[in-house]
């Protein structure tokens, strides 16, 4: 099943080992031009070898850095395996990075080579190439639009592989030899940490780059697989950004378990392609799960009356059953029977429709998912497991299948490696933790105390079952005047379960006498709702400020308020005139709120919320994807509740 990481101790060796074991079994599947193209283990190995030799012939050496930017694609993965086999390091980037962020990553890491998917990504590098003296070559794999680009440093993936083919003639065994030379403690990947407020001169976040070794990554996954096995009969959908959790689950876990990886045609076709794949394993970000829940609810809203009635009845019944089981209550046999009937009649068809028919384990990464959303999916028989991990420490918890609990983030895999400090901070140590921050070892050392514990800056609690409960970032925990502590993220996650609320930030604590919320509406769902109610609107700004929309959002907030302590009930809220956007640095690229930044950015708005004003004029600066800036001016209403 899984490779023994004591014997097969690097990722490159795992690739070779599994290739010898599986040979002509399919390893990767990629939809292109409407057809699923399979690649066997042998083919992946051969392709990786050519990329590897091509890079070596161009001068790649141990310890060099190679940047990659693009959507998930087999060629990204081959490039990564090829680079790691040379003892070099991969720095993955998010596709929606704008050029200043690309420049920061490539220049700070002194990358020697870079892979870029297509014209759009290459253009980002073209913009900043002059300030990247270390960058020698850039390889692209989608040639569309690049036929007449005439830069000496630009080369197609195919040409690179041709170079590799030539080089192989004189160095037939070099790839094998280099694999033998890889060592467990070689740095393998750079993970970009997102929780930073420092900016570069170009106005982009200066993320720290945590270096993970082969061994750290493999140990992390071996820990996960101990409780949550992966099989070589499983299919995995590669969809999350490879610069994030996909680094572990998509690129590495299949190497260790022999799992098949499926790549959808385009990010936009995922909901269609996932039906054709019908995977056993899946990771979505919290944002995507919330989107999917909204999608299911809006599809049911459009269904005929009978289907809608049945689905709504059965899903709420199933949620009750899930809740009973979680609390350890006995479920009466007639309820079990009805629940099973509901599964057959309504829930299974829906699951099939969403491509989740064969799901055994689904993960949530990034931000925490609200308990309502998780219960909803559990009721649908999609057992979502919350994951807890940070850039620097990897993954330390997972739910065994029989212990899934949506209030926790899973069982602590190695109790010796994690503890809670007296202040309630989560501390970790051990070989799964990253090696250092690239080019900033001083900052890295500051994360540790004298006993060698890494301070995560997260607040949490380990319960009597040995499960970790994650509250929030320590610095984000808020104390209201009455002395009660609470986590804004927790309230936000509950609010975002509403199909009409796409994002929100909870304000409160300190001297503020009550809690309030800044909400961004879900344009599509609220738009559809407005259409059915015959409410005319022109743009997002217009729709968000409609009195009826305020009423709609108010109802959702009141529903959430019912379950909150009085001191932290939301008393006022505004519908923001725009969505939160990573291009405005309001969110991290993995979709988390950059809270401190937002509170500064909206300081005046927040001041108005806590004054007697009933509306507020915003002049917001907007940064477009191409780097230009502009501004919008509009009135935002401040609504009061109860």
């Amino acid at each position: 099943m899984h490779v023994d990481i004591e014997k097969i101790d690097t990722l490159s060796k795992a690739l070779r080992f599994q290739t010898q074991k599986y040979g002509d079994k399919i390893f990767m599947c990629h939809k292109d031009l409407g057809i699923w193209n399979p690649y066997t283990w042998n083919e992946v190995y051969a392709n990786t070898e050519l990329v590897h030799l091509g890079l070596i012939s161009l001068g790649l050496q141990r310890g060099d850095l190679v940047g990659i930017i693009g959507d998930n694609d087999p060629r990204w993965f081959w490039a990564e395996y090829a680079v790691q086999a040379a003892g070099s390091i991969v720095a993955g980037m998010y596709v929606d990075y704008h050029y200043a962020e690309v420049k920061y990553v490539l220049s700070f890491s002194k990358a020697k080579f870079a892979f870029a998917k297509d014209q759009e990504m290459v253009d980002k590098i073209v913009q900043v190439k002059d300030s990247l003296p270390d960058l020698q070559k850039v390889f692209y794999w989608e040639e569309k639009g690049l036929w007449f680009y005439d830069y000496p440093w630009l080369m197609s993936y195919r040409e690179l592989q041709e170079l590799g083919k030539e080089y192989k003639k004189t160095h037939p065994n070099l790839f094998e030899e280099n694999i033998d030379k890889t060592k467990p403690n070689d740095p393998a990947v750079i993970m970009l940490s997102s929780g930073t407020t420092r900016m570069t001169g170009d106005g982009v976040p200066r993320s720290q780059m945590a270096v993970m070794s082969h061994r750290a990554i493999m140990l992390n996954l071996a820990g996960i697989m101990k409780y949550d096995p992966w099989y070589d009969t499983d299919r995995w959908v590669s969809f999350g950004p490879p610069a994030w959790g996909e680094q572990y689950f998509g690129i590495t876990a299949p190497l260790m378990a022999g799992t098949e990886i499926c790549f959808p045609e385009e990010p936009e076709t995922i909901l269609h392609d996932i039906r054709e794949i019908s995977p056993q394993k899946l990771i979505y970000s919290a944002q995507l799960w919330e989107m999917m829940a909204s999608e299911i609810q809006s599809r049911i809203g459009d269904a005929n009356r009978i289907n809608r009635f049945l689905f709504n009845k059965f899903i709420s019944l199933a949620q009750d059953v899930v809740e009973m089981k979680r609390k350890g209550k006995k479920v009466p046999f007639w309820l079990k029977w009805l629940d099973e009937l509901g599964n057959v009649v309504s829930l299974r068809p829906m699951r099939d429709n969403m491509g989740l028919k064969h799901i055994r384990n689904a993960y949530n990464s990034g931000a925490l998912l609200g308990p309502d959303t998780i219960r909803y999916f559990h009721a649908l028989r999609v057992p979502i497991k919350q994951l807890y991990g940070t850039t620097e420490i990897g993954l330390h918890c997972v739910h065994p299948d029989e212990e899934i609990d949506y209030e926790t983030v899973g069982r602590v895999i190695n109790p010796d490696c994690m503890k809670i400090s007296s202040e309630g901070e989560i501390l970790v140590k051990g070989p799964m933790v990253a090696s250092f921050y690239l080019n900033d070892v001083e900052a890295w050392k500051k994360n540790f105390d004298e006993e060698g514990w890494y301070h995560t800056g997260d607040s949490g609690f380990i319960n009597d079952r040995g499960h970790l409960i994650f509250y929030d970032r320590m610095k984000d925990m808020v104390t209201v005047p009455s002395g009660r502590k609470f986590s804004p993220q927790y309230v936000e996650a509950r609010l975002k379960f509403s199909p009409y609320i796409k994002g929100c930030i909870i304000i409160g604590g300190g001297k503020k006498e009550f809690v309030s919320a800044i909400v961004t509406i879900d344009y599509e769902n609220v738009g559809n709702w407005a259409e059915t109610k015959h409410i005319g609107y022109t743009t997002y700004v217009d729709l968000s400020q409609k009195p009826q929309v305020y009423e709609l959002i108010k109802k959702d907030i009141q529903r959430v308020n019912e379950n909150l302590f009085d001191e932290i009930k939301i008393k006022r809220f505004v519908n923001l005139h725009k969505e939160f956007d990573a291009d405005d640095a309001e969110l991290t690229r993995s979709g988390k709120l950059r809270r401190k930044f937002m509170e500064e950015r909206y300081a005046d708005l927040i001041k108005s919320i806590y004054s007697d004003e009933r509306s507020y004029e915003v002049v917001a600066s907007v940064k477009y994807k191409d780097g230009r800036t502009g501004s919008i001016k509009t009135q935002v209403k401040i609504e009061r509740i109860g």
């Binding site: 409407g34 639009g145 036929w147 936009e268 269609h272």
Partner: protein
């Protein structure tokens, strides 16, 4: 563009009138190989009429049209399509009951070699031919990034998507030249930028010469090799974008100064 490049389409002194209304007066122009030729002019200047003369929907009373060194002045529109004159329409005309994919497959119809029977039975040669055509169509889907809407019926598509399908269908018939009638009308900035990129892409990839009618001057000035300006049915200027921009007649036509004087 190279002056010596071969001429693909040659229009010689055509005039068109509907009753007493003179729409085109002695218009001549040439489209050369690997060239993007823009036709601009104020509303009602006769641009679309000129295109309709080329694709054969209107028959000019006077003048001749040559395509690939052969006179086509009297040829039927469907034959002109078969010899390689492709076009898109100002008002999108795609089949709303068919998926985007099928709309594109229909574009291949003029060049499918199989007959009714082998096409219907779908085995042997008929099947091979269809698979080959589907491959070509998939290349176009890839080029125009239509993957997300491949299986969506035309009626469910947004305006911008329908325009893309329309363009895809014109490309599917493997044209030797392509007429684009306001491909960017009614689109937002993002969609416009996309279309410009597609036009440049297929133009670079397949070298198809293009006649482009477009109102967005920034687009025209950006991508056209040559520009022809028409006003009240008369060609008033021709040249590179820079030449046309500084031409006094053109400035007058657009700012309306000429009308005030008369």
């Amino acid at each position: 563009m190279n002056e010596k490049a071969k001429t693909v389409l040659k229009i010689h002194d055509i005039s068109l009138s509907f009753g007493a209304l003179q729409v085109l007066v002695d218009v001549s122009l040439e489209l050369r190989e690997r060239e993007i030729l823009a036709i601009i002019g104020p509303n009602g200047a006769g641009k679309t009429s000129l295109l309709n003369c080329i694709s054969g929907f209107y028959k000019p009373q006077k003048g001749k049209i040559f395509f690939d060194d052969r006179e086509i002045s009297n040829m039927q529109p469907y034959k002109r399509a078969a010899i390689g004159i492709g076009r898109t329409f100002q008002n999108v005309e795609i089949y709303s009951g068919l998926t985007a994919l099928d709309n594109l497959m229909i574009g291949r119809h003029p060049i499918m070699e199989n007959g009714l029977v082998s096409g219907a039975l779908w085995f042997g040669r008929g099947r091979r031919i269809e698979i080959e055509h589907r491959k070509q169509v998939e290349n176009i889907i890839d080029l125009l990034e239509l993957e997300p809407i491949r299986e969506s019926p035309g009626a469910f598509l947004t305006y911008g998507q329908r325009k893309k399908v329309d363009l895809g269908r014109a490309l599917a018939m493997k044209p030797k030249m392509l007429i684009l009638d306001e491909p960017m009308a009614g689109m937002n900035l993002d969609e416009k930028e996309d279309i410009v990129r597609y036009v440049l892409d297929f133009h670079q990839l397949w070298g198809i010469p293009v006649i482009l009618v477009e109102h967005d001057m920034s687009v025209v000035m950006d991508i056209a090799d040559r520009v022809v300006v028409i006003d009240f049915g008369i060609k008033i200027a021709e040249g590179t974008p820079a030449e046309v921009k500084s031409n006094q007649k053109v400035i007058k036509a657009y700012l309306g100064a000429a009308i005030q004087k008369n």
